[in-house]
Assembly symmetry: C2
Homo-oligomer: 222 residues x 2
């Protein structure tokens, strides 16, 4: 019984890692599709998100099955409940990567991001992908220090997000309102993606230490 139980927990954890890997790749590919106006790549990111949703449903079913069959208590119970929360974060990241890809598709054959913001958006996309890779690692290693590091690394995302706004609000902005709207939304998608990656790490910290890792992810306007 115990062995089956730990196998089931391991399967849940594997599912989370797989989800994290998929959405990490998705945000990377979506960023490329966005910056290069690559319609085919955008389409592939959009359709691949179904797999993330399937994984989440599967994971949710598994978690509920474990609760019903094994009736875990104490830490084991928290593992299962935390997994449910993490899978919701990861599912959301998949949707956000899909949004980035949809914007690329909507503006095709034009590029949604003007040239002078290309480097900043690229860095946001790469950082988002890196934060998600760290989150996946943290799920595997349960390393609290590494988990706490994510929040610090996310500061750079906030900085990049501020840079995007500064650029938008600069008097020299010459790309018109449509591009301003696109860039505003894209900036928000990356920021939220990173928040969810940090959230996964914070839930891990809570799981291991029983302490909340600071407050909820920053999710301000700027």
């Amino acid at each position: 019984m115990r062995e089956a139980y730990h196998e089931e927990l391991a399967a849940i954890s594997d599912g989370l890692v797989e989800m994290a890997n998929l959405v990490g790749s998705a945000i990377g590919l979506a960023t490329t599709a966005l910056l290069d106006a690559d319609l085919k790549l955008a389409e592939s990111v959009i359709s691949a998100d179904e797999k993330v949703d399937d994984l989440q449903r599967d994971l949710e079913d598994r978690a509920i099955a474990v609760l019903a069959r094994q009736q875990p208590v104490a830490t084991d119970l928290r593992v299962v409940v935390t997994s449910l929360r993490m899978s919701a974060d990861l599912e959301r990241c998949g949707a956000l990567a899909q949004h980035v890809a949809k914007l690329a598709r909507m503006r095709y054959p034009r590029r949604a991001v003007p040239r002078d913001l290309r480097r900043t958006i690229l860095e946001m996309g790469q950082l988002a992908q890196r934060l998600m890779a760290q989150a996946a690692e943290v799920i595997i290693t349960q390393d609290v220090d590494a988990a706490l590091q994510l929040e610090k690394d996310d500061d750079r995302m906030d900085e990049l997000h501020r840079m995007v706004f500064q650029h938008l609000l600069d008097d020299r902005w010459q790309h018109g309102v449509e591009t301003a709207v696109d860039v505003t939304l894209v900036g928000r998608y990356y920021e939220r993606f990173a928040d969810h990656a940090v959230s996964v790490a914070q839930r891990l910290v809570y799981l291991v230490t029983g302490e909340h890792a600071g407050d909820l992810p920053k999710d301000g306007l700027a």
Copy 2:
């Protein structure tokens, strides 16, 4: 034992309804603060969100306690797990209402929303509040038809959201980029708020019928 159990489930349900009521009021007040550039009201919405976060933490603790002590199976287990998911939706709605209020505060003493978008934004705010009131009712009554109605009512939010974009992208837009950025974000906040209200109702449908209520809430770009 059974009685205590049903009392605990009732307490969880009460907590969800209280959260829904609070965030419904919050989005209404935040909309007023935004449209009237009412700093005091904005501040009160921002600080009131702590209560929502407290309720969510409380609800999560209760749910985990029920799982540990009562070890529910089948439908009862789904009730508890679904409650956890609903509380996450509602917590997010609180954060979104807070974002609207923060935008009001950031632009004070100016108004973030130009006069010609005032009516549309007012309707979005009122609709968001109404959808949340319906969601609260659905939690109480477990009325599947009423729950399914929310998704239809949300179509109007999508329509309003499209109207905001049309307005932004109209050649006659004369409010500059900063206001375009503000309006883009505000539109997104209302749309997401409504999505979460629909999501609460969909989870209820699933709980009662075992069937998923269509796909996940629409959360497109437009």
